[in-house]
Symmetry: C2
Subunit: 509 residues, 2 copies
């Protein structure tokens, strides 16, 4: 999308000198730190000269490196990583020189997917090989599923649960990607986007403490274990704002904040980094996926179990205004006090707006009750009188108050509950959850006698609105019932997931 490479450079060394009176020495590699003497050793890459430079305060901001695993054939020509502008230049030249027709991207994270789209736009046919059983690891699998479907619809070949075993050159000079399951993919170009690893060589050499996740350990003022050395950015471990655990977040926003905190503290001001919310967004082929706070996976990893999740599929603006399209949302919140723990959303429009609003709410330690009452911009082309944010809050608050309790999707098959689909017969006929009985909302009041009072009911409709009404009717008539959040639309996100299949197959025995 960016035609002129120069546009990617935020500032030059000359601008730093002129504007800030700061000397930025480019092409100068710091080869070691002497924390006792408070000096660094620098090699001038142009002249080869090596010299020592003293410091009062030292800030490490070396970033992170793309992971390049020691697989057979990893050093073959045509296997690239993407970190720097020269990296991207190398990829483009290779494509032009070889008239490349196809590419294999190893890793389905943010960078991998953005590469996939850009290579398709260059005319290549693209495969993504991902070791995990989902793309976009920061997202929960049933949310990533939506992105995966969109990529498939845009001719991207996605292979999940597929670990690369090695690379080889074919007789015709092309590349062959071999997976552990024995599959072979022939291609002109491989891009490794398996993730990044904090660059800690200097820090280790200087004896600075590292964290368990491999990043430089810093305190809230971004100070390392050496009192005269600070570290910021992708090289450090940070506190997760929601779970409180250590995390490595290779994100530009937090890196910026960390730099300011370190500068404040070095200049004698009290300042501290409040942690990382991991707010992130990616756009592929017009679809936007965004998230903030903890995912369900992250909450489980952190040992948090007192949470609930709601799903919803509201349109981004008034349904009657032309161009309405759904936003698929997941909201995670504490069962104890309603505090918002995280949110994920996928859709064509208005996605990042809702995640940004929830990001601000999480920062302020707000609850789902606050989302219910949020007063947001409304005109028909921008939102609804009840914005998706309000709807998410209401569904969550209804669950917490006991007005509309939830049946978690992964529990449904083992619950022993009777599944009642309250949509109209023609909708039921088109698709329904296996095992469901159909009792339309419009007939429910008259047909209550047909439902068991001694067995729990779980309800679904299309997105959750009608099943909410049905649930209220049932609860007020003495039935025991819970809702499947987000209805058939959420089912469509789960049904291909292996963990759901497993749960399902156990239950139908």
């Amino acid at each position: 999308m960016i035609q002129d490479e120069q546009q990617l450079l935020v500032a030059t060394a000359e601008l730093f000198k002129e504007r800030f009176n700061i000397e930025a020495r480019t092409e100068s590699e710091v080869t070691s730190i002497d924390p006792e003497a408070r000096t660094i050793e620098v090699r001038d890459l142009r002249s080869g000269t090596v010299y020592r430079e003293p410091y009062d305060a030292l800030v490490l901001a070396p970033g992170a490196n793309p992971v390049r695993p020691p697989l057979p054939g990893i050093d073959l020509h045509g296997i690239f990583v993407l970190r720097t502008i020269p990296d991207s230049r190398g990829i483009k030249s290779w494509i032009e020189d070889r008239k490349a027709q196809s590419a294999v991207i190893v890793g389905g994270g943010l960078v991998g997917l953005e590469m996939a789209e850009n290579l398709v736009r260059l005319g290549l046919s693209v495969s993504v090989v991902e070791m995990l059983d989902q793309i976009l690891p920061p997202f929960d699998p049933e949310m990533a599923e939506l992105v995966q479907q969109h990529l498939a619809a845009n001719q991207i070949n996605i292979q999940l649960g597929s670990a690369v075993a090695g690379f080889a050159e074919t007789e015709t000079g092309r590349l062959e990607v071999r997976t552990q399951s024995g599959q072979k993919l022939e291609t002109d170009l491989v891009i490794l986007s398996i993730g990044v690893r904090p660059e800690t060589r200097l820090a280790q050499q200087a004896g600075l403490q590292l964290g368990k996740r491999g990043g430089i350990r810093v305190d809230e003022s971004m100070r390392t274990s050496d009192p005269n050395i600070w570290a910021v950015g992708d090289a450090v471990e940070s506190r997760d704002f929601v779970t409180g655990g250590w995390t490595i977040a290779a994100l530009a926003g937090p890196a910026n904040r960390q730099g300011r905190v370190a500068a404040d503290v070095i200049c004698g001001r009290s300042s501290s980094f409040r942690g990382v919310q991991a707010t992130a967004v990616v756009g592929v082929f017009g679809l936007t996926a965004a998230s903030t706070g903890a995912s369900e996976k992250a909450l489980r990893r952190a040992g948090t179990d007192s949470f609930e999740a709601v799903y919803l599929h509201p349109v981004q603006h008034a349904g009657y205004y032309p161009g309405a399209s759904p936003i698929h949302m997941k909201l995670l919140f504490s069962r104890k006090d309603g505090r918002i723990l995280g949110a994920q959303a996928v859709g064509m429009e208005g996605v990042e707006k809702r995640i940004d609003v929830i990001a601000m709410a999480i920062q302020n330690r707000a609850t789902v009750y606050d989302l219910e009452e949020a007063e947001l911009c409304y005109a028909p082309q921008y939102g609804s009188a009840k914005d998706p944010i309000n709807m998410a809050g209401m569904i969550a608050a209804n669950a917490l108050r006991g007005d509309a309790p939830l049946m978690p999707w992964l529990d449904m098959m083992d619950s022993g509950a009777t599944l009642v689909d309250v949509r109209e017969p023609e909708e039921f006929a088109a698709m329904h959850i296996p095992g469901a009985i159909n009792m339309p909302l419009t007939q429910l009041r008259e047909r209550l006698v047909e439902l068991p009072l001694d067995r729990e009911l779980m309800l679904n409709c299309g997105v959750g609105q009608r099943s909410y009404y049905a649930l209220r009717i049932l609860l007020q008539n003495g039935f025991k019932a819970r809702n499947l959040s987000g209805g058939i639309n959420t089912f469509a996100q789960f049904r291909n997931r292996p963990e759901f299949q497993r749960s399902s197959s156990t239950a139908t025995r």
Copy 2:
């Protein structure tokens, strides 16, 4: 934009009966309330029958009526208000039947401007006649100015400070709009969009207490002065969440919330309405203007003087990504503790997102320091590592911390300070504030001796970035200096404003 009128109807009486078992009696006018007997008198408009109906709890939701002032000629054919679908039908028929070529809209509020755009799209030439010296009364005048320029660029004729004296029919059967200044505008169609007035006829007849602003007075549980009668929506007065004063907010979101609060309380639940933030958005010809919280005007009206305002003009996403366009923002905050009081923004893209995030921040009583640290979605096509929200927070926090103190725009001419424009000479030559001297940032360090140490300096650049650097250099060198927030871009918003002209002419004497 909406072709099918039926799409504007959210629900039918039949749906209410079928889904909720609620009887919705349409074409039934309530003519009076007997609060003692707890009955209402209803007239069936189809049969003419009048009957009494008892109630346990009564909820009034009559909305508001468009103001139709008793001016000469106000009842002429061709003078419309717009509240209901039949109103819009009447306007469309009139335009078609008369082959109308032009329209005059009286009132430049939200409804007036939306009408203006839609009439232009129907091929009419449109004039807006506004009594005040700005359009969009909820906005501060220098923010409304941006919308006004955009309307003018789209061929809308806007007349500010122009009060209508009356209407007449011309000899050829057209309409003539006469202003108090003696101007006459001939047109085919007049739309009155002067504002709305709470519908309080029934409430008054029942002896319910009204507020000073003319709405039904209710408590936090939406109960009127009669313990068995509640009132919600555009007919009531609400508390302003920021200033604490009474206000009338004819907005759909708050009306929805009020309805839920009243229902909760009637059903025996404790629930209260937290007040109105007045979050609003309007789109005209692709431009979006949005606001939340208090305007500067509203703060002054409420007697709040301990606040500051910052202006900024960031682009909506990374500048190097194609399609970057500015968002003009104004942020109001408490000088005491940095609490956010209000925000307004105008631009082509990403406007309502930023206002929604600030709306959530205001709801949580957050500060500008929270905006500084907000962690929002960033990818080049969505935002920046330092989002406009962060930038607004940083500029405000820099002012509060004393790092970059502000000179309010309306004080500049009376301040006696020396105005220094730190842009490059060619920029200065193209446009500058009268009386400014030019000293580019790039030369500032060398030319400090040319500046007075005994007189305050006020600085401007293009948007405020370079003048921030200049200010820091000056303050650290012992000068007394303040910034003009938002630079030349903000000056362009102020320079045509009468209050600025007045201030300016006083000062240059």
